[in-house]
């Protein structure tokens, strides 16, 4: 949907940035190592979508926002240590097998 450079933010952009902020806040409560991993996945995901998703494709962006909010609620759960269970298409990050 494109990343704004200093222009005034649309309502939808604000929602996306707010979601990003929410994720970064939730990541703060995790152990240091997990936190770094979560932050790098977040940064990658948001930037990838910002490049790939057409900024006028409101229906799809709305869908991503809804999905993101659900994932954020899961991440806020103290038992959740990583994003691996939330984003199945990404490599597993917290299943170490021992």
């Amino acid at each position: 949907m494109g990343i704004s450079r200093g222009a005034r933010l649309s309502g939808m952009q604000k929602q996306v940035l707010s979601l990003y902020r929410g994720f970064l806040r939730a990541a703060r409560s995790k152990p240091e190592e997990e936190r770094r991993k979560i932050e790098s996945i977040l940064s990658e995901e948001f930037r990838r979508n910002s490049k790939q998703v057409d900024r006028k494709n409101f229906i799809y962006i709305e869908y991503l926002l809804r999905r993101g909010k659900k994932q954020l609620d899961q991440l806020k759960d103290p038992g959740t240590t990583g994003l691996s269970s939330l984003q199945v298409h990404l490599p597993q990050t917290n299943k170490r097998g021992h």
């Binding site: 990343i3 952009q13 940035l17 970064l24």
Partner: protein, 124 residues
């Protein structure tokens, strides 16, 4: 005995020497510091500027030589709106604040960040 008592009554210990030596034995410095921190421990503008500059210079995507107190994050430092969110979050941690979304969205330059933090009563 009467003579001794009379002499003692008239002897005056020079008070001056006391007041001259007293200040040396009292740790005025720490006393004054504890008094000042008890009341108003608000950060000075200079300290806010210095710490905001150092947080922004440490940001991985930023060229530290470009960072001055009046740069705009996106126009001058080539950052995007997601980087902007990350910088404001890093400032929250540095100053132990939580900046609400509505305010955070407005902070897009160093001078606005400095102003917001300097005016925030909880910044530390």
């Amino acid at each position: 005995m009467a003579l001794r008592a009379a002499i003692l009554r008239h002897v005056r210990v020079p008070v001056q020497t006391l007041s001259l030596t007293a200040p040396k034995s009292i740790p005025w410095g720490s006393f004054l510091r504890s008094m000042s921190s008890h009341g108003d421990d608000h950060l000075s503008k200079e300290e806010v500027i210095e710490r905001v500059l150092s947080v922004v210079k440490d940001f991985p995507k930023v060229d530290p030589s470009k960072v001055t107190p009046d740069v705009h994050f996106q126009k001058d430092l080539g950052l995007d709106s997601l980087d902007n969110v990350e910088i404001v979050m890093a400032l929250e941690e540095e100053f132990k604040l939580e900046i609400p979304d509505k305010e955070a969205d407005k902070i897009d330059s160093l001078s606005l960040a400095i102003e917001y933090i300097h005016n925030h009563p909880m910044a530390s």
